[in-house]
């Protein structure tokens, strides 16, 4: 698979994963681009030991985690509220609320639920994150429960 087709196939998926992690358009775009820079650099060495998808999602997840080091450089809380509101691409409140809820979860949960919503098999999620499949299943169940509760409160 050449880089161009990987880029086209995975851009939206990787962008959504990053968006679920930081819930900030520009920041998510930056992380997604950093991910594809790594993909581009490492593609010649890629040996198909895992599927391309697993490999790319691993790189993206690790780039997301790396943001902790950069968090101080661009603290989201310092942004004026108006700017954050203008930045929303879509006005669909429910959809924004979902991303907001996910970005508030603990870091690993954000990654797991984003991968699950991206329709990645649980076995593959396990291999991306490095925990057992059973553990992934339990975590997904709990996260969905949490999200459902938040949505119930939101709706009523």
């Amino acid at each position: 698979m050449d880089f161009e087709s990987i880029y086209k196939t995975y851009w939206q998926k990787i962008f959504r994963l990053c968006m679920g992690y930081v819930n900030d358009n520009d920041w998510a775009k930056d992380i997604a681009q950093e991910t594809f820079i790594t993909v581009w650099q490492k593609l010649p060495e890629f040996r198909n030991e895992s599927s391309v998808g697993t490999w790319i999602f691993r790189i993206a997840s690790n780039h997301c985690l790396r943001q902790i080091e950069r968090h101080k450089r661009m603290p989201k809380s310092n942004l004026p509220v108006e700017i954050e509101e203008v930045k929303s691409v879509n006005n669909e409140p429910k959809f924004n609320f979902l991303y907001k809820c996910i970005a508030e979860l603990p870091e690993i949960d954000r990654l797991i639920i984003s991968l699950e919503l991206e329709d990645i098999k649980q076995a593959e999620i396990a291999s991306i994150v490095g925990i057992s499949e059973a553990n992934v299943r339990v975590k997904i169940f709990r996260i969905k429960e949490k999200l459902t509760k938040k949505f119930e409160k939101y709706e009523y």
């Binding site: 939206q12 490492k42 690993i108």
Partner: protein, 197 residues
């Protein structure tokens, strides 16, 4: 309520136009440039300082062995610092993003702990060697002074060295440690999320 389908539908509504690959490659170059700038600056500064010290040695032709040992100590301090700084830059760049999250976090933790140790140890060795070098180098020239001036010269220099050792050095170390410790703590917290059920 079938939460599964609902969440997935909502999730997929998020879209961002695919940026041109040109933009991506421009970013790669910019990123590379930025990461090398600091490294090049540190190397150039220390190489110029080394050249200056060598010029002093050549131009003033010190006679005492203490002066020569002093210069060697200073040069050694600078080369040691430069060597470790370069090694660490390469080491920090060797980040492997292709492993799973659990192993990636462990790699990051090890990296940061090593960085913490290196920074503290090397900074101490650098300060000791540099102070020793200055102290030894001065001996030859203070010998030619009157006793009072020699005491004043050594007094001022020792005061400056003490100020560096007791005030600036711990301050730098504390600052470096604070940033790294905070990061290590955060990584450990995330690591615990993976370990716990």
């Amino acid at each position: 309520m079938n939460t599964n389908i609902d969440f997935k539908n909502l999730w997929n509504m998020q879209e961002m136009a695919i940026p041109d690959t040109k933009e991506l490659f421009e970013k790669t170059n910019e990123f590379k440039k930025k990461s090398y700038q600091k490294l090049i600056l540190a190397n150039v500064t220390l190489i110029f300082t080394t050249a200056f010290i060598l010029f002093v040695w050549y131009h003033y032709q010190p006679e005492f062995i203490t002066s020569k040992i002093g210069i060697v100590c200073m040069l050694f301090a600078m080369f040691l610092y430069l060597f470790v700084y370069n090694q660490m830059a390469i080491f920090l760049k060797s980040n492997n993003y292709e492993m799973d999250t659990l192993h990636y976090l462990q790699q990051l933790l090890k990296l940061k702990e090593k960085q913490l140790f290196l920074q503290t140890t090397i900074l101490n060795v650098y300060f000791i060697l540099l102070s020793l070098g200055i102290g030894l180098y001065m001996y030859e020239y203070t010998c030619r002074m009157t006793m009072i001036w020699a005491i004043v010269t050594y007094g001022v220099t020792l005061f400056w060295i003490a100020l560096n050792w007791f005030v600036f050095r711990p301050k730098t170390i504390r600052k470096q440690q604070k940033t790294l410790n905070e990061l290590i703590e955060k990584f450990e917290k995330i690591n615990n999320q993976l370990v716990q059920n």
